[in-house]
Symmetry: C2
Subunit: 649 residues, 2 copies
Amino acid sequence: MINPEDNQDTSLIHRTADHKPARTLSHYLIGRPLQTADAPHETIGKAVGLAVFASDALSSNAYATQEILVILAAAGTVAYGYVFPISIVIVALLAIVVISYEQIIHAYPDGGGAYIVAYDNLGQFPALLAAAALLTDYILTVSVSISSGVAQIVSAYPQLFEYRVLICVVCVGLITLINLRGVRESGAAFAVPSYFFIVIMILTIGTGLLRLVTGSLGTVVDPPEIEHFGEAISGVTAFLLLHAFSSGTAALTGVEAISNGITAFKEPRSRNAGITLIWMAFILAFLFLGISFLTRAVGAVPSEMETVISQLARTVFNGQGVLYLFVIVGTTVILILAANTAYAGFPRLGAMLANDGFLPRQLTFRGSRLVYSYGIVSLGALASILIIVFQASVSRLIPLYAIGVFLSFTLAQFGMARRWRRAGTLKDENIPTGSSHELKYDKRWSLKMISNGFGAICTGVVMCVFAITKFRDGAWIVLILTPTLIGVFLWIKRHYSNLAGSLSLENYGEPPPYNVRHRVLVPISNVHQGTLAALRYARMLSDDVTAVHISMEPEDTEKVRRKWETWGRGTRLVIVDSPYRLFLEPLLNYIDEILANRQSNEAITIVVPHFVPEKKVHNALHMQTAEMLRRELLSTPGVVITEVPYQIP
Amino acid sequence: MINPEDNQDTSLIHRTADHKPARTLSHYLIGRPLQTADAPHETIGKAVGLAVFASDALSSNAYATQEILVILAAAGTVAYGYVFPISIVIVALLAIVVISYEQIIHAYPDGGGAYIVAYDNLGQFPALLAAAALLTDYILTVSVSISSGVAQIVSAYPQLFEYRVLICVVCVGLITLINLRGVRESGAAFAVPSYFFIVIMILTIGTGLLRLVTGSLGTVVDPPEIEHFGEAISGVTAFLLLHAFSSGTAALTGVEAISNGITAFKEPRSRNAGITLIWMAFILAFLFLGISFLTRAVGAVPSEMETVISQLARTVFNGQGVLYLFVIVGTTVILILAANTAYAGFPRLGAMLANDGFLPRQLTFRGSRLVYSYGIVSLGALASILIIVFQASVSRLIPLYAIGVFLSFTLAQFGMARRWRRAGTLKDENIPTGSSHELKYDKRWSLKMISNGFGAICTGVVMCVFAITKFRDGAWIVLILTPTLIGVFLWIKRHYSNLAGSLSLENYGEPPPYNVRHRVLVPISNVHQGTLAALRYARMLSDDVTAVHISMEPEDTEKVRRKWETWGRGTRLVIVDSPYRLFLEPLLNYIDEILANRQSNEAITIVVPHFVPEKKVHNALHMQTAEMLRRELLSTPGVVITEVPYQIP
């Protein structure tokens, strides 16, 4: 044997890969790899930024008002009067949350999701809590947005009602595919539909208010059948109002999006992002209050068959004309865009968690189109499951939704409050905190602490109200799911830590010497070109090669023996009898025997010819011997199973 | 490099494997491998032979009469009067078929299924037609028998009705498991329930006839709701009678079982098997006629809720006493035994077809319990699917069933008729036919030819009647399925033939010399004990080893570089930059480049460390790099991907 230390070129070569297209079949489906897709984002201004990041928040107008009505309906139509007051309270909450996030934007100019803020200021456990809440919410954003989008379409075309679940799942599938191909948050693609939605909704609300003032606004013609949630009750209770308020808080989902994407803005990016957030809040507040107010004015009712938006639009615009269709289309498209934003956020958060060791490492890799493929597929699958389980009903999905949003709001704001308190103790000197976000003394620290702390308390209380009032409607699922997710995170982390420990080269001492003996076995069922290819490879590996034939039919064996004399080039052939037509067991027993007698430091390689037929379907017609051996011998140290592919011409 | 021709031990070693138990987890489920299970069958006498082979045929009594009634019911209760005449015609058909099979038994003393007889006398295409029909029928035997068995149980315990599909699937699962563990057609296990069924049914019919004669036989108390098939019609039509007759021919299924199992009988085995067949036919005829006659006498009606057998038994035995329960239990058990016989026949036929190259070769291998595992699992899965699709309804399964049985009857008998004609031309001299079944001159050849030919025509006509009358009920499925199956057989055969051609060593000339250059690549993401194990293996394979690191984070790469200096033992390290966190693409591009520049006859091996965690679930937390590379590089000649397992302690 040649000393492996000889003849080694020890030069260190450092090179940059040029990305040639890869070759899988899946490229037909998800397209050829992008070459330049990950070029640094062009930074965007405030107007485009609003379009890109506001779709999630603004789209919740499509269902928030309706969800308040669904709850109130339990007490009869008299309770509908509370929809506008409740909406005002929700807008007040929006103001508090937005003020808090303004501060996050300035403190974390590199993007500060709840996970980062909580990790940075509160520690690992709150961060995992935030991560669990956020992951759940990304999934629900897809489920709720698509379900609501399809509900708008169904409102205009009621004959599609019975296919709504199927349509939803197909939509999710398409969005998943598009995201696997790779979409960038490109300004133009978002700007048109976002502004279209804003304009058409302002037009709707404006027209509605004008006709109300002039007295020409009627009420909903042929209102659909009223749907309500839970048992009917007689009279409006405090619980009912809190319950309805909880449902309405769905309007706040998506407000945090800008704080995650600050890096996309032009410099001064924190300032630009902050101003965009304020704009978005005003538009959101106006649309939400406008819709809630007019809903009451026209007497729209909650229904699975026709959305409140549809009832409102056809009343304001006197029937199902072009403007009505614009409202439906605009609402549907912005909901689909909202779902699409989750496809950016979910894999990004998954990659962050994977990088910190809380999720499988694979999530940190990008697919061939520069996207986190595993995360995207998981998101699509989970959202589809939820849609199927809850039959694409927004009202049944909502109880699972906003609780996680408010949990992450609360953790982010508590984190910020804590940060200001620490900043206050610094007294003008900079202390590196060990994180990338440097902590500076801020003379207005107490004011900021109070504002973030107040926000945290408000959203925390809302979360508790939500959890209690919606516990029976489905919130309990989240209360089980969140700790479970955290358990999974910690379990994965422990596995990686243990692994790193046992693989570590600290205290490893001198590694064992390179093996000196290498024994190679080649199982053969017949002697043909594939066998010879495997034999050729085996003989290259070692001089100690044994071919093994499991003999089931004496005639066949005789043929193999004779052919081997011609083609085996003197390689040792062992014939193992198997009168009962067993194949794997005699081979394994023979290997066992060899293992029992092997010398220390002897490696054993089993070389198996592997046919690669031209058509994949033909694979089913060949024994996957290597796969079977691998399964059996995986836990045996020092045994390597090698397939030698033989391309069938 | 060392000349691989040196130092070779060229001795030929021939050894017999001793079967030590193998080590898979599945052994908990399917048991430890049998050591002696395949010892030659003890041969059996006529009495035990009847029990072993009659279960399939006799069990059809459990549903044949009922299926006639289901069809007649469309014309109202007045049509029930035809059940007995139809049964007499079916028994006449039984006589014809039995006479034909008597001759097959004597002509094919080694066992002659329809596939063998057709292959031997009619050629490949008719043989494949018979094979397709038989495979379909084995599946349907399981579905129909289990569905009918569960229907008997449900008759006694109506509260189980809504769980019937589940119960059926669980039963099929259990039988599949039992067969994976390996069951022999052991005489005792079959004799007790078979004779129990025969005795209890004779007792039931005898008591019923006696009470009818003495005038004490009443009619069914509280008959269940009548079920019928197809639209109600006014008056009995010829079509209705033929339709009902077709359903009743299900009674003949299983008659061919003895001709498949002749080798199991004591010598003179053809004679013993033939006599057993006659016995079986008489018992079958008596039970069938008895049940049909009494069914009419007590006014039993067809129903999904309660079987005719159950109605008959509780009327004859005055309620649900012990004897009634004996009938239900006896019928259920014999139906389960009938399903079980398909588990022997289906894999055996599959192995025959696989041996002739019409099905995947894997089917010829035996699992660790000496059984054809693939075939058994496929049978269980397909039967379960049918049960679920047809909701365990015997009436809905029957239209798919008997058509294949009659197709195979017809082909077997045509084959025999052809054989006698050829035998007749031989004039006293023996001609080797190229098959194992020697053709001898038979002076009574014309009589035998006429008898088999007449049988073939009768069963052929019945098959056509069946196909026409039951076309809309589901027979069309079989008429599509059978050609499809034949297409699959021929497609597989062509693949194997092409493969054998392209792998053949005829005209192969001198094989290429053993490779002289062997380049080994080791992709590494980090330097740890697993990496070193892979490196150690790679260095054993060749002196030309290159480690490749895909660099995503400059910091990590610097760590890898430094560790490599310590642990790499001078092995060349190439660092490929991947600023966008891609992993697979840069690696593939690097490999592509090496492939482009390789010398002729240079082999490339990629050695990948593969973690084997203690718990299988942890596998999900590791990149399956080798699997990914293998998928991408499978069609590239000369590249081998080797996983070096590293057992995590």
